[in-house]
Amino acid sequence: MQWETVIGLEVHVQLATRSKIFSGASTAFGAEPNTQACAVDLGMPGTLPVLNEQAVAMAVQFGLGVNAEIAETSVFDRKNYFYADLPKGYQTSQMYHPIVGPGELLIRLDDDVTKRVRIHHAHLEEDAGKSLHESFTDATGREMTGIDLNRAGTPLLEIVSEPDMRSAKEASAYLRAIHSIVTYLGISDGNMAEGSMRCDVNVSVRPRGQDALGTRTEIKNVNSFRFVEHAIAFEVERQIELIEDGGEVVQETRLYDPESDETRSMRTKEEANDYRYFPCPDLLPVVLDQAYIDHLRDALPELPEAKRARFEDELGLSAYDASVIAASRDMADYFEEAMRVCGDAKQAANWVQGELSAALKREHLEVTESPITARQLGELIGRVQDDTISGKAAKQVFQALWDGQGESADEIIEAKGLKQVTDTGAIDAMIDDVIAQSPKQVAQYVEAEPDKRGKMIGYFVGQVMKASRGTANPQQVNQRLKEKLDALV
């Protein structure tokens, strides 16, 4: 039997507001437990939520970025359940009237195919706190659980897709596209390691050609692109084996364990909570007028898909370079600055994609942490373009800049004497020296069949470049050597 996989994602994006969604407490990551939770976040009696307008603006920006309908009126609901790290006994969320309605997102797959994934809706909600299950004991030495409410009230945008993805690769491409768009918009730092982005994955399988959906399972809280692929791969295989062995998939919530690379059951539908949603009486409906939405639309930055198309169509980058560079706003900004300085899109793309990316990867750095600024790289590329240095010397300059040996390419070129020699007289003198010192090689060259001589010239070029410590213009060297050697034949 041929099986088809059906995947839908619920992505939780932490919005980059300075304060929480319903209080003035800070959202900064990494503070001492419970130092960033005010009376409202602690759910103290009598306290009331006040909506952070920045969170609303960010949700609208996301909606506009995925061509979604923005709700004129959205409403916060209470989702009631008990848990120790849920201070009020309910989570304030948007169940019935979310702020962002149906939209869509283009994802690019490895084989350069573009696919449209529909977004069902996106809604605002508050995060809960965190239970710390380790290293707490009471007076009698009994194990206890600590609660850190620093996260409580952190604004989240939950983006719910339609079940439009058909493979683990598509799911991870979708997640990357979400990551790309929210970081472009600047509405999230997208830091998955710190929990700024995580997702719940709904997976089912069905015989190819069948319309009806199979029974799905939900894998909770997956927090990396790689884990999403692994979790889905494991789950798909598990479900297919189960069905092929005559069993049935049970609708349930599962957890992915990266250590063992498998999913396991957390709770079944029978144990599912009744959340008793109802509109939160402490918050007014969020009413947005068209002028406000238009204002935010006008302020939207160029988004990844538009940027990719422009890089490809107007700058002539390869489809691959364009999509890789455009995927990250920081990378794209860096590229565009370097390009502006050197005036050559293709060279800028080559350097950013080649030397720079390799160095960043080696040192585990983000492009924003690069020791070489975009301006510095642009100037360096410019020096290759105007023949001041050779491509080989440029790599030395790059390394020197990376190591902080100088403020600019020019400074390093000067200090290291890397300026390319293009003076014909000087090059001729070096060539003459090399020819004089290599009688054996010259003889071989002269005696060789004419069609073999091309290969043999490499030796002489190497000797001249060595003698010039790499500063001689290689094209010139090549050309003059050929002329001089051929004259000896």
Binding site: A39, L42, G43, M44, P45, G46, T47, L48, P49, V50, L51, R78, N80, F82, A84, P87, K88, G89, Y90, T145, I147, D274, R276, Y277, F278, P281, D282, L283, L284
Partner: protein, 494 residues
């Protein structure tokens, strides 16, 4: 006010105390001391306070006297008041009448508390109340029932019964209450004082321990409408910490008090004079209406056809919100925690089982049920539809008349322990509940006596018509003396 006149403290209003302070006839310390002494004498009988904050009160009184000496006193500077124990007060126990919060000291003030302090009022302490404001008789308080100063066999009404009793007995010239389904007006009626429930959103709810968020509203309880006008002026206004508080400006409520009533159109809702209304109460109310006619008002009958559904809708919506609002009392962060919990579920179950009283548990269970999957539309959604119809009834009525009048409660104060069945207790609020569902303001003023127990006249106005209501109530109090009647108990403890 020197010692020989201290005995008469109980007969003062906020307005007359403010005048005495202004004229230098009394200091805030003297007044505060007098009231504290009266509280001490009355409490063994009355039980109207949960906490008396004598030290803080005297210190604040000294500050007020100093402010007055420095020439920076306002109208209310130095006037003692008290607060229902539902208002969070920084550094002072705030129990909400529950064992659950017996150990709770809020690290912040309710906005109402801050505003009263900013106006210079002195808080004598926190008054007794039905647990989490759930009750119509003050019998559900963890701290025991309050006695009605007019008759110690009678209840003071609920849930702001401690405030009403304390004002009636002269233990405090005024008190802040809260009203979710009649909790200011009904005890005001039972104790013969004046109580105003403002428009929903007129006063910030920040720091008021929530019962039913879409219905709760704080308001003043005092001896006269004039006092209520001064106090409302101090506590009303938008609060950045409460998004549901109204953003409109606060009028000078005292300025409109004396406006003439000629031409006032009064509507008498047919539904407020039907079955279940004590005939003696009905006749007291009709007498009061005649007073208004003598002042130039005209009267007509009106209909509020959906009134009959008000109690049912209320007992769906209020418990639904309460079940959610009270979920935070879980023994984890504050309030009562059971001893030696086995695990998290045990911690929740025993903390809540031990901390909450019977009526609170009953309403949490009702609310949890009506919000449950499969019941939500049948109950909650339907009740919200009824609520809109009730609100529309009032809007239609106010197209025809300026104010509505009727009884505050179908009977005078009943005896302690008399209402055994929860549903019959719920029907005590039959004339007050619809007002909260509609969000309009209402005031109860003393308007007669039946068998030695006071009767309240309820006056209702359209949204934000508090100035008009206070004016209408004030003119009545200038013409009648029901509000000046004092229980014998107030004199006994002099």
């Amino acid at each position: 006010m020197s010692d020989h006149t201290a005995d008469a403290t109980f007969d003062h209003t906020v307005t007359s105390l403010a005048a005495a302070l202004q004229n230098g006839d009394a200091s805030s310390r003297e007044l505060t001391t007098d009231y504290l002494k009266r509280i001490e004498r009355a409490e063994p009988t009355l039980n109207s306070f949960i906490s008396v904050t004598a030290e803080q009160a005297l210190a604040a009184a000294d500050d007020a006297d100093q402010a007055r000496a420095d020439g920076c006193a306002g109208f209310l500077t130095g006037v003692p008041i008290s607060l229902k124990d539902i208002f969070c007060t920084q550094g002072v126990k705030t129990t909400c009448g529950s064992k659950m919060l017996d150990n709770f000291i809020a690290p912040y003030n309710a906005t109402v508390v801050d505003k009263l302090a900013a106006a210079g009022c002195i808080s004598l302490g926190k008054t007794n109340m039905d647990e989490f404001a759930m009750g119509s008789s003050n019998e559900t308080s963890y701290y025991g029932a309050v006695k009605n100063p007019w008759d110690s066999a009678a209840v003071p009404g609920g849930s702001s019964g401690g405030s009403a009793a304390a004002v009636a007995a002269g233990l405090t010239p005024a008190s802040m209450g809260s009203d979710t389904g009649g909790s200011i007006r009904q005890p005001a009626a039972f104790c013969g004082v004046t109580g105003l429930k403002p428009t929903y959103g007129r006063v910030s709810r920040y720091g008021i321990i929530a019962y039913a968020s879409s219905l709760d509203q704080a308001g003043p309880m005092a001896r006269t409408a004039e006092d209520c006008a001064h106090l409302l002026g101090a506590i009303a206004g938008h609060d950045l910490r409460d998004s549901t508080s109204a953003t409109r400006g606060v009028p000078d409520y005292a300025a409109e008090l004396d406006a003439p009533l000629a031409g006032l159109k009064i509507g008498l809702p047919r539904e407020y004079f039907g079955d279940g209304l004590d005939p003696a109460v009905a006749s007291a109310v009709r007498e009061a209406v005649k007073v208004y006619e003598s002042l130039g008002a005209t009267v007509r009958d009106v209909s509020l056809p959906h009134t009959r559904y008000a109690t049912s809708a209320y007992y769906v919506i209020a418990p639904a919100e309460a079940s959610s609002n009270l979920a935070r009392f879980d023994g984890v962060r504050f309030g009562h925690r059971c001893e030696h919990p086995e695990d998290l579920i045990d911690l929740y179950q025993r903390s809540r089982a031990e901390g909450f009283g019977e009526e609170v548990k009953r309403r949490i269970l009702i609310g949890t049920h009506t919000l449950s999957e499969g019941f939500f539309d049948a109950y909650y959604t339907k009740a919200q539809k009824v609520r809109r119809l009730i609100r529309q009834d009032f809007l239609d009525a106010f197209d025809q008349v300026d104010v509505l009048m009727g009884p505050t409660s179908p009977t005078p104060a009943f005896d302690l322990g008399a209402q055994k069945d929860p549903v019959s207790m719920y029907l005590q609020d039959i004339y007050t509940i619809a007002v909260n569902l509609a969000g309009i303001p209402g005031i109860s003023v003393p308007a007669g006596m039946v068998d030695g127990r006071p009767v309240g006249l309820q006056i209702l106005g359209s949204h934000f018509a508090e100035a008009r209501l206070l004016n209408v109530a004030h003119r009545f109090q200038q013409t009648t003396d029901w509000h000046q009647q004092r229980p014998a108990f107030a004199k006994e403890i002099a």
